[in-house]
């Protein structure tokens, strides 16, 4: 695994609770998986990806966890146009026009 230099923006992962040890009110499917937490911050020392590392968060807290990624991207987007929504505007404009003509 590569070494990420001190000062890089990174994301670390911390296991908050282990599977099987979750809160009693949690449903069965959630009981079977860990509760994981991800946090971004600035790496305080050169660290190897996948190993324990320390970050300084935007509020200045020092947190330790598994070093997951350097400069992690935002990947959410719009995606493909939704054909099921595509015709709605046209249909409504036709109704408005019909109403205009009725006047």
């Amino acid at each position: 695994m590569k070494t990420i230099p001190k000062g890089s923006l990174v994301e670390i992962g911390i296991t908050v609770m282990n599977a099987g040890n979750r809160a009693p009110q949690v449903p069965a499917d959630t009981q079977k998986v860990n509760m994981e937490m991800l946090v971004k911050g600035i790496l305080t020392a050169d660290s190897r990806q996948g190993e324990e590392a320390e970050i300084s968060t935007p509020t200045g807290r020092l947190l330790k966890g598994r070093l997951i990624a350097e400069n992690p991207p935002y990947t959410h987007n719009y995606g493909e146009p939704i054909s099921e929504l595509g015709a709605i505007g046209r249909e409504l404009r036709a109704m408005l026009k019909e109403k205009e003509e009725l006047r």
Partner: protein, 478 residues
Amino acid sequence: MKAAGSYSEIMARKAEIMKSSVGIDYSSYACGRLSFDYEKMLDDSGYSLDAIAAIQADTAVGRTPLVELKNITSIAGLCASRKGKPGNGARIFIKDEAANPSGSFKDRRASLSAYEAKQKGYPGIAAASSGNYGAAVASQAAKYGLGAIVVQESFDSRGIEQPEIAEKTRACEAYGAEVLRLSVGPELFYQYLLTLLETGYFNASLYTPYSILGIETLGWEIANEAKVRTGRFPAAVIATHAGGGNVTGTARGLIKAGASDTKMIGASVDLSGLHMASDHDFNRKSFTTGHTGFSIPFTTWPDRSDVPRSAARPLRYLDRFVTVTQGEVFYITQALAEIEGLERGPAGNTSLAAAFALAQDMSRDEVIIVQETEYTGAGKHPMAQLNLAKKMGIEVRRGNPEENKPGSTIVIPERPEQIAVKDIDLGRLKTSYLKNIVSSIDRIEDIEAADWDFLAMETRLSEEEVCSRLTKIIEEQS
């Protein structure tokens, strides 16, 4: 992380952590066996409506435009005619809360918490929110030079994020906040308590008096603007209903403006059948708030919230409570963009979908006001939500919305006249509320004098009616 207490240890310290992180001694408002002095708790915050409006104006919160949706009103009128109700189709207005600094009405809720935290010398503010509220807290913290930590429920065990929450992560980080992103589960609250304990930050809970009083300006503005624009108070105001704060604060603001006859309607997306703590169900819903997964439990048990006594008490204010389907909200979101030129939501459009249906049962000279919009963007958009739904194997099609099934089928209406509301029986919710609140009581004689008045206020039932329902409940319990 610093050495942390176990789940049960930390949860047992909840009351103590809450007391220091919100600066309110909730036990001082207790009276009777079950009740507390709600109005005193709100009054003791010390903020008048005028003071709140001034604090909000200082950070450009509030005074948002009230927009008449003339084309959507026309379509509602046409639908009413087609259904044999000519003359119906109330004027629909929308309060464009997307114009607030972080893009939603949640800035109103965050503003007073941030101001209070600054005044009291807290180093920062924290919120447990996967939605707009987190961004509002981050934005307000930026304005006051406070640290901000937002704790979100973000992804399932496969690492798949809710696109809407991913966008809120980005927004919170854009405002300089520390974001703790968690996988699915209610133990998020444990992590939140740990964070409060470690940082000494102010808990900008959605359920403190500050968070509710901050919304009163919204109800007040709506009442007064409607009066100026239409000559009278609106017949109805409709709010998207989740934890109850939106309904409570808006209704209180309406009442303070004198609009006591205006009907307060709550609207939620119907997500019945999906479990809110289920890892499997997490990405099978297209709405992360404003849905029945929150609104039903919070209406029937408001004190389930993160503070001992929630300032959001929806049953005190709701005149009517309706649901719509996910597909109907997506339809009206598209309509709002394409025939009104407002690309907003989608979550804030839950009440618009309901208003569109309700307007058809009202006369054309009446006014119904949708009390919020929210900003939209990548992730926080019907396209992103419906692409996720398809990826999760959910069927998306045009059709009759009655065929909508949360978690398996999203039906986009074929025609606008198919959009309809389903009423939730408030009477049944009141009984559920009473069941929850008296679960610790064995005998009706144990209920004290102060409790009767409280329970009547909480449910808007007469003391006799409360007594008759409670007698039945306690009999069934024993």
